[in-house]
Amino acid sequence: MTTPEDLHDQWELWEVFVQEKTGEPHTHAGSLRAPDAEMALQNARDVYVRRGAATSIWVVKTTDISATVPDDNESFFESPRAKAYRHSHFYKLPKGMKDQ
């Protein structure tokens, strides 16, 4: 039988980040439920790396992640968006001259 404990004692949600080759960034693979970090890592291997394509796995409790709020995107990202002079195409060179 499904006991009440089963129902309400949910395992914690973890986000899984996998690095597929050395030198590459860890990228988000998905999430899973596990009671602690050790079991989260083992589950992450079984769920997300069944073909062995990984050199490293990170697991992070979902509740420990802070994220920007989509509704605030306009104001939050306004400042960097308005700085065209941080891109190379902002600067002009005499015709015919190459910068590399």
Binding site: D6, D9, L13, A29, R50
Partner: protein, 316 residues
């Protein structure tokens, strides 16, 4: 307030129109959320229940090669169910709620898994036909508007490549075998052909959710479109295998360039979806048994965690 809602809804529709992906924290209409929960949880249940008909043959696989392939495929299905439960959870439903819906018999899953696997040839047919149909559906759905579902499907499609191929290898082996083996393949094909065509869902004329789903780009092709693509592809493969399609009305339409089948028995489909297929009860009994018998594993994992939390030894 009402104006605010209208603005949100217009902005949302604009994003859908420009093929933007919707992410969990973005505003979305309640119906969009509800439809996705229904669809993704049904898909997750299908992966989990889908392990049962094939699991039936793991111990009786005819060689070690076949056993390894089948085992890996069934393990993938467990994994795919988990990706999809995670994707559904991002919409605010809990995993326990979804499990309960399944175990209490309220949730739907693909009708195809309520048919029995009577011979080894059925394992070949499931890979070739059932996975073939699922892959066609999933590669289309992978372009859907909801980010987490789209990403889960991309991962699933990448892994399912071999599922269909191992099935086709089994069929190819049987049709090249003894007369009894050939007969086994044909008998199995006869049983799976029509139920596989039903996997794409009711005809467009009787598919109440389709319009809304397509407007939101949750669904990108209609049931009949996908079914036709499957028929055209599979008729050719069946002919190459030397199998006879169990449909005397099947004919090639020169004008449209498509194969046309006889009428699909939608009454049978409705019965199976509503719980009266050959194996519905057996499948649910097996799921409940597996869930109950796994209770000690869940309890052990929980007490291991508590032990490490109290004695101070970091678990990871």
């Amino acid at each position: 307030m009402q104006q605010f809602q209208t603005d949100l809804s217009e902005h949302f529709n604009d994003r859908i129109q420009s093929n933007d992906k919707i992410e969990p924290n973005d505003w979305m209409p309640d119906r969009y959320r509800a439809q996705l929960i229904r669809l993704i949880s049904q898909h997750a249940h299908s992966e989990i229940v889908g392990m049962l008909p094939e699991g039936n043959w793991i111990t009786r696989a005819p060689s070690l090669r076949r056993k390894m392939g089948l085992l890996a495929k069934v393990q993938d299905e467990a994994g795919h169910g988990l990706y999809l439960y995670c994707a559904a959870e991002t919409l605010g439903i809990s995993r326990e709620e979804m499990f309960d819906q399944l175990l209490e018999g309220h949730a739907k899953y693909s009708s195809i898994f309520n048919y029995p696997t009577l011979s080894w040839a059925d394992i070949g047919m499931i890979g070739w036909l059932v996975d073939g149909a699922a892959i066609l559906n999933q590669t289309t759905m992978a372009k859907c508007s909801y980010g987490p579902y789209s990403r889960s499907l991309l991962r699933i499609c990448r892994e399912e490549d071999f599922h269909k191929k191992q099935g086709m290898e089994i069929v190819a082996t049987l049709v090249a075998g003894t007369p009894r083996q050939k007969h086994m393949a044909q008998e199995s094909f006869n049983r799976w052909w029509w139920p596989t065509l039903m996997m794409f869902g009711p005809p467009d004329s009787d598919s109440p959710n389709s319009g809304e789903l397509m407007q939101w780009k949750i669904k990108l092709k209609t049931n009949d479109d996908l079914r036709q693509r499957f028929i055209d592809m599979t008729v050719e493969q069946a002919r190459a295998f030397g199998l006879t399609i169990p449909d005397p009305s099947l004919r090639y339409n020169d004008r449209t360039g498509h194969w046309e089948t006889g009428a699909i028995d939608w009454e049978e489909f409705k019965l199976v979806v509503n719980g009266y297929g050959p194996c519905n009860r057996e499948r649910m009994d097996a799921r409940r048994k597996a869930h109950d018998e796994g209770a000690w594993v869940r309890a052990a994992a929980r007490s291991y965690e508590r032990k490490h939390a109290t004695d101070g030894s970091a678990a990871a």
